[in-house]
Amino acid sequence: MGLKYITTINDREYLVEILDETHVTINGQVHLVDFTTVSDQPVYSILLNGKSHEAYVYAEENLWQVLLRGILYSVKVEDEREKRLRAAAGGNVVLTGDTPIKAPMPGLVISVLVEDDQTVSKGDTMVVLESMKMQNELRAPRDGVVSRLGVKAGESVERHQVLCYVGATR
């Protein structure tokens, strides 16, 4: 018996079953598959019923990102058991607490326009980053108070690095 997965793209669910090395079903339809990695990279070559495709597939933020013919798909893959557990736990997680302000790109901090305990309004510019001669203004995603400010002008930051938090007014 094969392994069953529930795979979701843009709220649309696909039931994918891996039968053996060369067969998968999707929503009950059987496909002949020859699947291999290229150059030990996250680049995959697939022959699906003879049709040759290639995609760049990598994990990011709990999803699988599939870059296929210039189109990026964010895909959730769960095995049946996982899916059941999630259903039992019920609903989406509600965000609480402070909101982290993350660097959307790697770069240099050009200026920091806020300080700890400062009150900001949604849309206020907080930090200006520069990378590859392109400046990016990070704005407050909500009203609140700045805390745990961790960068200053002149420093380098990585992509997704948390620069500070914006929390409920204390």
Binding site: P42, L68, M132
Partner: protein, 503 residues
């Protein structure tokens, strides 16, 4: 006549120039920042010297150090490429003062074209049309601007004198909304640049960006190499260029008009070497001088492929004092050339810059494909310089063939480790409006969606299968690691038991 050139630049253009020198049998000297020890221009040059830290102003903008290295290594000329010091008249002058050839125009021409107001005045005097507006007329008050706007005719654009990047810019469609928009523009300009002065410019509706490549030698010969169209832009950054222009098309008269006007503009400043006159062209073929780039352009290869002229090689010949071998009659465009700028930026996340190590790279090859690049597999993209990592240029017998070839080349291009805008180009090449040549400079921002929804049904299914197979494989592997660890643990236990038995 010199036989050794210093290239005061980095990235693909430094590599491009080194190649031209090598193919002329000339020696090359590269300069590099601490971030660029592994860069291709350092590897390909005959000699390479460290300038300083990564930040441009401490390395690639250190004209003094560059001239010092040039003198020490005995080069005869310096090629500035584009960007960095390429359009700095003071640097060009310093190079000449050091007794070296500056491979570019005279400092006076750089200076004349570098000041927008002077440039507009100079070319207007030579009979070249300029975009109607008040730029260069000094800092006018609101009352004067309201009068001027009516003379220019609506719609007009309010632009910050100190400006750039769209800050302090407002489009005015009729007189009555103008006072409020002027106040807003001045306030924004003041906040952004500490200078609230603004000027007016006529809005060219449906404008296309068409530019003309010119070449001039030291013996008074000036020719043009036809036009390029660069209307595919995003935030005033060119993304795709082509030669000829699909808008000019078969209209040889219009082509010749643009060309001879460009030659006149160049002659107005006694121009020498390669340069580009940029025009805005409206749908009625009215054209307006925008600016002159007094240097090699990023997009020069499309002209090279369409005309067969090696522009960089010609630049070096000219700066060595040679007479151009080409006359205007020798220049014809054959077929069609397209260029896609491959930038390290993520088209799926707002085109934000992407840095990191390129872990795998497979460039497209084969007939009609040219790649100009400064990166390779194993090279790290840093945040210090601009995001252009490669130019993919194709030639076809006609535009349709060039587009098909570009599609196959984009499909073949594999870059793993950093995000690139290749997906953007793939989508663009599939767009029927692009294929039909129907676009203006606002096309990408206003009419070209980066949302992907209109694909056929089978593609998401394929993505679902791929993601599931990769997820499955990754689960199997982690299961194996767990199993191996289990065994390791028991081995370890077993060894422990065995050791105890030995005692």
């Amino acid at each position: 006549m010199f036989n050794k050139v210093l290239i005061a630049n980095r990235g693909e253009i430094a590599v491009r120039i080194i190649r031209a020198c090598r193919e002329l049998g000339m020696e090359t000297v590269a300069v590099f920042s601490e971030a660029d020890r592994h860069a291709l221009h350092v590897r390909y040059a005959d000699e390479a010297y460290l300038l300083g830290p990564a930040i441009s102003r401490e390395s690639y903008l250190r004209g003094d150090k560059i001239i010092e290295i040039a003198l020490k290594t005995g080069v005869g000329g310096i090629h500035p490429g584009y960007g960095f010091l390429a359009e700095r008249a003071d640097f060009a002058q310093a190079v000449i003062d050091a007794g070296l050839a500056f491979i570019g125009p005279k400092p006076s021409a750089i200076a004349a074209m570098g000041d927008k107001a002077i440039a507009r005045m100079t070319v207007a005097k030579a009979g070249v049309p300029v975009v109607p507006g008040t730029e260069g007329e000094g800092n006018l008050r609101d009352e004067d601007l309201l009068v001027a706007a009516q003379q220019i005719g609506f719609p007009v654009l309010i632009k910050a004198t100190a400006g750039g990047g769209g800050k302090g810019m407002r489009e005015v469609r009729e007189l009555k909304e103008m006072p409020a928009l002027l106040t807003a523009a001045r306030r924004e300009a003041e906040a952004a640049f500490g200078d609230g002065n603004v000027y007016l410019e006529k809005v060219i509706e449906g404008a296309r960006h068409i530019e003309v490549q010119i070449m001039a030698d030291q013996h008074g010969n000036v020719i043009h190499l036809g036009e390029r169209e660069c209307s595919i832009q995003r935030r005033h950054q060119k993304l795709v260029e082509e030669a000829p222009s699909p808008f000019v098309g078969d209209d040889e008269d219009f082509r010749n008009t643009l060309g001879s006007v460009a030659v006149r503009a160049a002659q107005a400043v006694n121009y020498v070497n390669a340069g580009t006159i940029e025009f805005l062209v409206d749908s009625n073929k009215n054209f307006y001088f925008l600016e002159m780039n007094t240097r090699l352009q990023v997009e020069h290869p499309v002209t090279e492929l369409a005309t067969g002229v090696d522009i960089v090689r010609e630049q070096i010949r000219i700066s060595r004092g040679r007479q151009m071998r080409l006359t205007q009659e020798d220049i014809t465009m054959k077929g069609w050339a397209l260029e896609c700028r491959i930038n390290a930026e993520d088209p799926h996340h707002g085109f934000l810059p992407s840095t990191g190590k390129i872990t795998h790279l497979n460039p497209p090859t084969g007939p009609g494909v040219r790649v100009d690049t400064g990166v390779y597999s194993g090279f790290s993209i840093t945040p210090y310089y601009d995001s252009l990592i490669s130019k993919l240029i194709v030639w076809g017998e006609n535009r349709a063939e060039a587009v098909l070839r570009m599609r196959r080349a984009l499909e073949e291009y594999r870059i793993v480790g950093v995000s690139t805008n290749i997906p953007f180009h793939q989508k663009l090449m599939n767009s029927t409006r692009f294929q039909a040549g129907q676009f203006d400079t606002r096309f990408v921002e206003e009419r070209f969606s980066t949302q992907y929804g209109e694909e056929d049904e089978t593609t998401p299914e394929l993505a679902a299968i791929l993601a599931t197979l990769v997820a499955h494989e990754s689960l199997q592997q982690s299961a194996q690691i767990v199993r191996r660890n289990e065994r390791d643990t028991s081995n370890w236990k077993w060894v422990g038991r065995w050791e105890r038995l030995q005692r």
